[in-house]
Symmetry: C2
Subunit: 331 residues, 2 copies
């Protein structure tokens, strides 16, 4: 398959901007389309955050970034791109209209990925001229710092594009995870939403505040989850007996009637306002930009820390730096 | 309240050993009772892990450790201790028998904490002579490294002991979290189990393997959760609209019928063996001791990293080092 030299970014914003930042950092040119009046300001803010983040993430020489050009239509942006990344609003009709327009100018074998978190690729590709090159590549915010990207094929997707994705996204510092079954929420969001649902119940029943819920994660299991997922964490907790011992010991507890996971609290205005107020209070006067800087500094530090132990996200960073070293030698 | 100079550790093992390791590191003497034949070997292994961990966690001078002595009965171990930490098996009858024995020798105002994850303090204290000094102090494995400890009062617990706990556990490098409602699973385990339940469904339905589930956490949201819990993460993801915007956008999705959280997969032998096999494969030939060393190295590195940004578990570490600095000056 052709190497990727130019990528069309259809839809800026936090996700599209994050993709663009990672791509230009990897010396790939991007062609952007986003019709919103403040699109370029938001996009440039993401790029500035990312530039700062990459400067902190690695001591390796970064070389020069790829170029950024803005275009008046999605079709124009897609011209000459080997890869087109769509990150427009989560509306199937909007996305399908974008693909129809892109397909008027894109090469037949240009790869089109959607950043969608909630719409199935089989739905997205249904009316396309060349549906086989459409797949989901679902990233996580901030896209320029978090390695995870879920790859999901639709029923008409040619598997060679999934295989391409496993190599390409790894090359730009990510950890591609093939979600082999087309399922709502894919993998990561399903797991996150299970936890979020329980958190909403704790808030609803006034068992805990947002601050207390977050402390229950960030000072305990959250630290573990930055380097080892829930399965391996519990397997290790079972000692010599491993996961089998954990399931024997705690399996019955999972079925206790006390679990509130049977349904979802009603999102009344009062409840939503209460939760919103608590989250604002948590932010303790810091605005989103300031919180983003803190978050990014922490994510940088954590990944550098894990790199020292050749583990988890530290491995994606090490592989990325090795590739950068080679690229700097080629310059 | 009296300062804590001597702590009785009733029940060694991973949790009791972890408590002992943290206490002696903080120059507090421990008196241990555990009747199991291999108790001392397991205990000493935890202490060795902890010693290695603390050496890596901080560059501050560590001073000398508190002493460790072994005793033939729980009553003997409890003599002269200002605090008694119970970490015996999760059986209410066993725990109550231990408290009855302890109360024959313990000072009336010696504090008794249980490390239980599943039994309510009101149940534990029901038959005690002095129930008011019994509370839950629920730690997280590895106890010598993870800061979180949940404090839970029973109906008869005097609140002054909860207030004592907020100071004492912070002084030994932890983040005490008062779980203000006596609820099964407290806070952290409820949240973890929600995620684990969804993971078990994904395995049961063969949507993903243990390895894929863990990657979906460790390369994405897990990194975020090491420094910011789910509430603040989603609040930040909502940008200027914050959590309110997130609930508006994703609230309806939480109710979609596709969620499998309505019940729990049946834990048949076949299913348990399949899950166990996958977890063993994940471990890739590393035995539990090796995995523990890797885990500890990562947790050390993450906490040191967060300390640089004055955040999350980095703050507990900084506070701990400040206190150690003062202690070293007093030596």
């Amino acid at each position: 398959m052709n190497s990727i030299e130019t990528v069309a970014i259809i839809g800026g914003g936090v996700i599209g901007g994050g993709w663009a930042a990672r791509l230009i950092e990897n010396h790939i040119d991007v062609r952007v389309f986003d019709p919103a009046p403040d699109a370029k300001d938001k996009f440039d803010a993401v790029l500035a955050n990312a530039d700062r983040a990459y400067a902190g993430l690695t001591d390796a020489p970064r070389g020069s970034k790829g170029s950024v050009t803005w275009h008046d239509t999605a079709a124009q942006a897609a011209q000459g791109a080997q890869l087109i990344i769509e990150s427009v609003p989560e509306r199937p009709d909007i996305k399908r209209a974008v693909y129809a327009e892109i397909e008027t100018t894109a090469a037949d074998d240009a790869i089109i990925t959607s950043s969608t978190s909630g719409i199935m690729p089989s739905d997205l590709q249904a009316e396309m001229t060349h549906p086989e090159r459409l797949m989901v590549a679902h990233p996580f915010n901030p896209v320029y710092l978090l390695p995870l990207v879920e790859l999901v094929a639709g029923t008409q997707t040619d598997n060679k594009y999934i295989e391409w994705g496993k190599t390409f996204f790894a090359d730009i510092g990510m950890h591609p995870l093939h979600c082999r079954v087309e399922i709502a929420g894919f993998l990561s969001d399903r797991l996150q939403e299970a936890l979020w649902r329980e958190a909403l119940w704790l808030l609803h029943d006034k068992v805990a505040t947002a601050d207390e819920i977050d402390a229950a994660i960030a000072y305990g299991p959250g630290l573990r989850w930055a380097q080892m997922g829930t399965m391996q964490t519990f397997h290790l907790a079972g000692g010599e007996g491993g996961m089998r011992a954990m399931l024997a010991m705690f399996g019955p507890c999972l079925e206790w009637p006390w679990t509130k996971l049977m349904d979802v609290p009603e999102l009344t205005d009062d409840f939503v306002n209460e939760v919103g107020d608590q989250c604002e209070k948590q932010a303790a006067g810091l605005n989103p930009r300031e919180l983003e800087r803190i978050r990014d500094d922490n994510l940088i530090a954590i990944q550098r820390a894990l790199k020292g132990n050749d583990w988890g996200a530290g491995k994606t960073l090490a592989r990325y730096e090795a590739k950068m070293g080679r690229a700097a030698n080629d310059d």
